[in-house]
């Protein structure tokens, strides 16, 4: 079935086409079903391709599919070609799988939205772009997908664009991504100038021709690119604002798939990274710093989705830390596990928001486990996963990364374990505030009862929180199952072992921690104890009281004032420059040039019009005079020429 690889991308594109042509006519919910079926079909094909790939007997299982010659210009020969190997296959499987579930969930979540068909239109296009990104066999095809997901992210973040905040959040996401894209593009140019190809495998075969300084430059430029896409320091603030989008978008794009594109890209170019230790160290430091900073911010956020957003940034930091250590398999492991549990957490948060009629403030929730039992159970599984409580998947994935960090950079391991403690704490704080404690939601007995606030829910909803319909809870169950059991991928030698499957892709580039089994046990016990202790602390603190100002420093609530910093350093000077252009350059220079030209012609015209007397005799004198001059000229030429 390997030759059907192109169908994986084509099916969501077909769904996109159908919705583009007939989305409005299909309406709610048929348009949602069309979109969902397109993605589910793509998932089915992916599974088929995966099973066929398993049959391939080679040191590195891979399959290349050359679709057509895309840019045939002299030496610049670019093919629209796909490349399937365990790395891209892993991505494809979890992208299509989780997309299917989130599409299904969205049918329930977006029910009754004015632009219901448009939502699925963008979602299908997003899935297709993401698959192009991971399946591309050269940098340019990847870049097409890269820009495609960025564009869809923009559309979906500002999906409710009539809200000012949503419109500007979309813009912000786009601008931050563009900054990163400049780095990515420069890296592509540099690769081309050295090896005259974009194909990954050819680049890796010719890695000696690039030169070590250039490899470092390429890696660092790529790092700039992935910083934007994967929200690493310093380009991370957009991800928190991106929560303005509908919650399924946050789950799919800003937790499970798009933001992991950077991690994928770095894994894809692992031979380049391996050749540049300084770039690897930079990536590790950026990752560790991001993981820590984002975790501290998440401790003080009040919006349920913002906590999850910063938690995503923090987890992505872990993945970068793993890549920086050379532990690509560990990064992929956390990426897959994270896709499951963070997708689950976001969908759970969406269910909470849905059940509370669009309430996102943690301080106005409380005791929801009594009202949303299914959401609570599934959310709790996600919570314990991300907090890395054994034996759930997060424990294995994070433990894998921390072990490798311990072996490679013990200093960064300390940052990692502190972050793990913070992660356990803030996720327990979120759970405590939302699901435990007193009822604090609007309309609760002891809460304020706004009169008109729920007038728009007169369509049969009571103001009491309600559990979501089956179409939303089924994806929650499925995701929580996978989030819980994804740890089996850590068991080496089993048929689910991730290491057996993807290690050959990285070959000798992969870092092996070679820890003794006693060291591994010690580290695992430290991880487990830290996780459990901080889960208990967080839960104890926040299920009893909802206000603890000492633990919510305004510095952390304000996200280290990083937005204000960028405003001051980049925003204000840019505004001043724009004002200078508008007030000085435009009226003086631009208008001056235009009006000056017009004025010069008007002046010369008013001089010349005096010659137009209207009297024939004046013109005749002119003709005579001209004739005399010409005659005189000819005579002088005759005499003196």
């Amino acid at each position: 079935m390997l030759h059907l690889t192109y169908l994986i991308i084509l099916l969501p594109l077909v769904g996109f086409g159908i919705l583009l042509a007939a989305g409005r006519r299909l309406g709610d919910p048929a348009a949602g079903w069309v979109g969902t079926i397109a993605v589910v079909a793509s998932f089915a094909v992916s599974v088929g391709v995966y099973l066929s790939l398993l049959q391939v007997n080679a040191p590195v299982r891979s399959y290349g599919q050359d679709l057509w010659s895309w840019i045939p210009v002299d030496r610049l020969q670019v093919h629209a070609a796909l490349y399937v190997d365990p790395l891209s296959m892993t991505m494809v499987l979890f992208i299509t799988g989780i997309s299917s579930l989130i599409h299904l969930y969205s049918i329930g979540y977006m029910k009754g939205d004015r632009d219901f068909p448009k939502f699925f239109l963008y979602m299908n296009l997003f899935v297709a772009s993401m698959l192009i990104l991971v399946l591309g066999s050269n940098l340019l095809v990847t870049f097409v997908g890269w820009e495609g997901v960025g564009t869809c992210s923009y559309w979906l973040v500002s999906f409710w664009f009539t809200r000012d905040s949503a419109a500007s959040a979309g813009k912000k996401a786009f601008v931050y991504n563009r900054i990163g894209d400049v780095g990515f593009l420069l890296a592509i140019f540099l690769v081309w100038s050295k090896v005259h190809t974009f194909d990954y495998q050819v680049i890796f075969a010719n890695i000696d021709k690039i030169g070590s300084a250039n490899i470092t430059a390429i890696c660092l430029l790529l790092l700039v690119g992935v910083m934007g896409k994967s929200a690493q320091i310093p380009l991370f603030p957009w991800l928190a604002d991106a929560m303005e989008g509908p919650t399924p978008v946050s789950a799919l794009i800003h937790a499970a798939t798009m933001v992991t594109a950077g991690v994928y890209l770095l894994c894809r170019v692992s031979p380049l990274l391996h050749a540049s230790p300084s770039a690897e160290l930079t990536i590790a430091i950026v990752g560790a710093a991001t993981a820590f900073v984002a975790a501290t911010i998440a401790c003080a956020q009040q919006d349920i989705k913002k906590v999850l957003a910063y938690s995503t940034v923090s987890q992505l930091g872990y993945m970068f830390l793993a890549i920086g250590c050379g532990a690509y398999t560990a990064a992929i492991f956390l990426m897959v596990a994270h896709a499951f549990f963070k997708g689950l957490l976001f969908l759970g948060a969406g269910s909470v928001i849905h059940g509370l009629h669009d309430e996102q403030d943690l301080k106005r929730m409380g005791n929801l486990r009594a009202y949303l039992p299914i959401t609570f159970i599934t959310f709790a599984i996600g919570w314990l996963c991300i907090a890395a409580v054994p034996p759930l998947s997060g424990f294995w994935a994070k433990g894998d990364i921390l072990d490798n960090t311990w072996a490679a950079h013990p200093g960064l391991w300390v940052v990692g374990i502190v972050t793990a403690a913070l992660t356990a704490y803030y996720m327990s704080r979120l759970t405590g505030l939302a699901f435990f404690g007193r009822d604090r939601w609007a309309g609760a007995d002891d809460g304020p009862v706004p009169d008109a606030a729920h007038a728009h829910h007169a369509d049969g909803h009571s103001s009491e929180p309600h559990e979501s319909p089956w179409i939303m809870t089924v994806p929650l169950w499925i995701l929580s199952f996978f989030a819980a059991v994804a740890g089996v991928m850590a068991i080496s030698g089993s048929r689910f072992s991730l290491a057996n499957w993807v290690d050959p892709v990285f070959g000798s580039n992969l870092f092996h921690d070679n820890l003794s089994s006693s060291a591994e046990w010690t580290l695992a016990i430290i991880d487990a104890v830290v996780a459990i202790v901080f889960v208990l602390i967080g839960l104890r603190l926040w299920s009893t009281r909802s206000e603890r100002p000492a633990l919510e420093a305004s510095f952390l609530r304000g996200a280290w004032y990083i937005n204000e910093l960028y405003d001051t350093v980049f925003g204000r000077p840019s505004e001043r420059l724009a004002a200078f252009c508008a007030d000085v350059v435009d009226p003086k220079v631009i208008d001056g040039a235009v009006n000056g030209v017009a004025g010069a012609f008007r002046g010369s015209g008013s001089l010349l019009r005096r010659t137009q007397t209207g009297y024939v005799r004046n013109y005749l004198v002119g003709i005579m005079f001209g004739a005399v001059v010409i005659l005189g000229f000819m005579l002088t030429r005759m005499w003196w020429g």
């Binding site: 010349l608 019009r609 005096r610 010659t611 137009q612 007397t613 209207g614 009297y615 024939v616 005799r617 005749l620 004198v621 005579m624």
Partner: protein
Amino acid sequence: MSISPAWYLGLSTVLFAIGAVGVLVRRNVLIMFMCVELMLNAANLAFVTFARTLHDIGGQVLVFFVLVVAAAEVVVGLGIVVAIFRRRASANADDLHLMKG
């Protein structure tokens, strides 16, 4: 015994000068027209003279072209003059300076 070509050329020059001055100083459109004709025919005379002196038939051929052009010009010009005269009952060229810039 033929007359020297210089006399013909001299006559041609005198006729041309009379025509040129007439066009410049007179205001009556019809007189100006006649002066233009005078200049054209002065040129014709010079052409014929040179054709004869230099034994080149080209000069005489050119005269026929000039005659045709002059005839056409007169047709159009007199037509315009008649049209203007109908509207203004005047043939004074200075009355017509609508095209003043």
